[in-house]
């Protein structure tokens, strides 16, 4: 959220430019990416920076596909380079196989995902299906609300991912078009402050011909399970790290976008709207209208989807009368979005007893209007009073097209 006090330092730029600038300021050594809408402006701006000699000690590796981009970064990261990529949709799907390799080899590759729907039917607009489809790949996933957060979360994610106790790759998920193509005021990351905040990448183990070791080698049934266990342990260590790094960022830059989660009007909220990404801005505007009428509605922003902050979510919703979860994705066959399913799951064995409703929203970029959010809140109020009748459903479905 923009603090009006910082207005003097702001400029109005496109979201993609702010992100490319942030990637530049984080001092990457190797960038590799393949252009795909709506990520294109990010990599165009980065190519320009490289051509203008603005990123010292950095190589931009041109590739013929996203699969090659992530593969190039696996090699680069293994020899100790700080690496960056950006992609979306089908490009992210094409990376899928190598995403497991990245996390399995414990390489802290960082990328921006300009979230977009997946085909078929072909659709270039925003939803979260691309990133949610990667949730089990062992990558950290942080979802951002506005351009400032998309920019500020990159150095935070490098610091989390490159921690020697963690060593996991991560993606900053920003809504394609809605954030990548918007012009809005933003404070561009400053080099000096960022250098103070983000230390150079110093991995304990690297690939080095002078001192030969093996990464991602064969593991038989007698050892494979332990590799998986250690990955899970690393994710658990990332939970507190995400919180502390967000606080460290605030100390240096004066901006805070939440740690694992963030609350808005949450303290006394009877109805809580939960979601991830840019939709939260619209939801907050609607909640302000309810609050002006004295209705206790609050917002729970989930910033970290992987690792999933179970404890923090249980704590945040424990006094609510009902929760509604808005997902820009669906697991076909469950009729549920991922955040909805996982929120129910983490509450089940807890002492928190609160009805949870789900809506899948904004599929393929369908605009999410203020009126629709208000409708969702009205339905949730009914659920709090009379119980849930329909657990999960599509928002704004056009029955006439079926």
């Amino acid at each position: 959220m923009i603090n009006p006090a910082y207005k003097g330092k702001m400029v109005v730029v496109e979201g993609s430019y702010a992100v490319a600038h942030s990637a530049k300021i984080c001092r990457p050594n190797v960038i590799s990416a393949y252009p795909i809408t709506p990520q294109t402006h990010i990599v165009e701006d980065l190519s320009q920076f490289i051509a203008d000699g603005e990123i010292p000690n950095c190589e931009y590796v041109n590739v013929e596909s996203e699969f090659s981009a992530i593969s190039a970064l696996i090699g680069a990261s293994a020899v100790g380079a700080r690496t960056y990529s950006a992609t979306t949709s089908q490009g992210l799907l094409l990376m899928h196989e190598a995403l497991f390799n990245t996390s399995g080899m414990r390489l802290p590759v960082v990328m921006t995902v300009a979230n977009r729907a997946v085909g078929a039917p072909i659709n270039i607009w925003n939803d979260h299906q691309d990133a949610i489809a990667q949730r089990d790949t062992g990558w950290i996933q942080l979802y951002v609300e506005d351009v400032q957060e998309a920019s500020d979360t990159l150095p935070q994610l490098y610091k989390i991912a490159e921690d020697n106790e963690i060593m996991l790759p991560g993606m900053v998920c920003m809504d394609g078009f809605i954030l990548s193509h918007v012009y809005e005021p933003v404070i561009l990351l400053e080099q000096e402050l960022t250098d103070n905040f983000l230390p150079p990448f110093q991995p304990e183990n690297i690939l080095d011909p002078e001192n030969p070791t093996t990464f991602g080698a064969f593991a038989a049934p007698d050892t494979y399970e332990e590799f998986r266990y250690l990955q899970e342990q690393a994710m658990q260590k990332a939970l507190p790290k995400i919180e502390t790094v967000a606080k460290e960022f605030e100390e240096v830059f004066g901006r805070f976008h939440g740690g694992l989660i963030d609350g808005y009007m949450l303290e006394d909220a009877e109805i809580i709207v939960m979601s991830m990404g840019s939709i939260l801005g619209t939801v907050k505007d609607v909640v302000d209208e309810y609050r002006a009428r004295g209705e206790k509605i609050g917002v729970l922003k989930v910033r970290s989807f992987r690792p999933f902050p179970k404890k923090q979510i249980c704590e945040a919703v424990k006094n609510a009368h009902a929760i509604v979860v808005l997902d820009k994705n669906i697991s076909i066959g469950t009729n549920e979005g991922a955040l909805f399913t996982e929120t129910k799951s983490c509450l089940y064995n807890s002492k928190v007893r609160v009805p949870v409703m789900g809506y899948t929203v904004g599929h393929g970029g369908r605009d999410i209007r203020v009126e629709s959010i208000a409708k969702v809140i009205e339905e949730t109020k009914k659920a709090a009073k009379y119980g849930i009748t329909l657990e999960s459903q599509f928002l704004d479905l056009k029955e006439e097209l079926l």
Partner: protein, 183 residues
């Protein structure tokens, strides 16, 4: 908060106009947001772009359905696109045309203003690119934005002679529509 919707055809610079408006509004001390309607852009196809201007930070991410102001870059759109859709009763629609407002027959309670931006662009810039010219008209018609801030934003984007010519055209359109406002 003021909401502005720009109608144009692919290639006419509607998105650039929305962006320039957001930069100029910020220079005026306001918060701003500009974004395209995210179409699959094709030259000549109807497109929309949006700008929000506010005294406080803008969080809303939906498209604009009830604009305060509408800018129409190409009057041929009036046959196929409902440019007055959702406009507030006290709003203003600015159309680039040689016609008079009443002859456009727009079904709206909002005020309709016309400006021959194509002529201004041809006379001053030498090419029929009207997006920046219409921003001058917007400043003159609405008073929402300082015409100097628009000129500054344009000159920052388009260096040298092109920027200068655009700034002149913006001034001319600004004065033209200010004259009409006084009529």
């Amino acid at each position: 908060m003021k909401e502005i919707r720009i109608h144009g055809r692919g290639g006419q610079g509607s998105v650039t106009a929305a962006e320039m408006l957001s930069i100029a509004a910020f220079e005026d001390g306001k918060f701003s947001q500009a974004f395209p309607a995210f179409g699959v852009e094709r030259r000549g196809a109807p497109v929309q772009a949006f700008t929000r201007i506010s005294n406080s930070p803008i969080r809303l991410r939906s498209q604009i359905y009830t604009p305060d102001y509408v800018i129409v870059q190409d009057a041929t759109l009036l046959d196929t696109v409902d440019v007055a859709s959702g406009i507030k009763d006290d709003g203003i629609i600015i159309v680039n045309t040689t016609e008079k407002p009443e002859s456009l027959n727009l079904k709206t309670k909002a005020k309709v203003m016309t400006v021959d931006a194509t002529k201004v662009a041809m006379d001053v810039i030498g090419i029929p690119i009207v997006n920046t010219v219409l921003l001058g008209a917007f400043a003159g018609a609405t008073g929402e934005i300082n015409v100097g801030s628009i000129q500054h934003a344009i000159k920052a984007r388009f260096a040298g002679k092109i920027g200068e010519k655009n700034a002149k055209a913006i001034q001319k359109a600004y004065e033209l529509i200010r004259g009409k406002r006084r009529e």
